[in-house]
């Protein structure tokens, strides 16, 4: 039975984790890496999620998994970057970027989770 206080505690942990993850992602965006910044953030978020997937659920899972990993990785930025590439007429790069993002993300989840690719 989850109490109301535990629920609020979980929400607070998610909020703290998201601030940390989104802040890291924004910091990566300032490095001038371009597409590499979002790709790095997504791969790092996937690696964190993969590493946590094998651990038994506890209170800090909400902070690290839903908060930090969820805030660090983003799907909307991938879409915005693909939209920009399509507007520049670079459709092949856009498709490749999505493919590399998915492949690297799956690889990161598996490697960090201790599974073979």
């Amino acid at each position: 039975m989850v109490t109301s206080r535990e629920r609020w505690c979980e929400v607070a942990l998610v909020a703290g984790g998201v601030m940390l993850g989104a802040g890291l992602r924004a910091g990566l965006g300032e490095t001038g890496l371009g597409l590499g910044a979002t790709l790095s953030a997504n791969v790092a978020g996937c690696a964190l999620a993969g590493a946590l997937a094998r651990r038994s659920p506890d209170r800090w899972r909400a902070f690290w998994l839903t908060g930090v990993a969820g805030g660090l990785s983003t799907l909307s930025a991938v879409g915005v970057e693909v939209d920009g590439l399509l507007a520049e007429g670079r459709a092949t790069l856009a498709v490749g970027y999505v493919g590399v993002s998915i492949g690297a993300g799956i690889g990161a989840v598996r490697l960090a989770g201790g599974r073979r690719c």
Partner: protein, 103 residues
């Protein structure tokens, strides 16, 4: 300072919304991803810029959507994962193109 506070509030709002959707509905992550992608598409298409763009797009939409959540979900399989990511990307592109003012 205002920018930092706005960024933090938008990030928290996006992340907590995603958390509550995931907690209350089996397809909550997909709903959060598609909603965040649709909002991001509108921001890009409507030409919103400056601090508002950073706060809404990078903090709000970025935290509402989760790439790692989709890829770490073992239940959907590889084809399902690709389909869910592709759906989000397509939503951004379509909403952005619809929201762009006519030249």
């Amino acid at each position: 300072m205002l920018m930092v506070v706005g960024f933090a509030l938008a990030a928290v709002a996006g992340g907590v919304c995603r958390h509550l959707l995931v907690r209350s509905w089996r397809r909550g992550l997909d709903l959060a991803n598609l909603a965040g992608c649709a909002l991001a598409g509108w921001v890009v298409g409507a030409g919103v810029d400056g601090s508002v763009r950073t706060i809404v797009l990078t903090a709000g939409c970025g935290s509402l959507t989760s790439f790692s959540g989709v890829l770490a979900d073992r239940g959907s399989g590889r084809a399902g994962t690709v389909a869910r990511v592709t759906a989000g990307v397509v939503v951004v592109v379509v909403v952005a193109s619809v929201s762009r003012p006519a030249a």
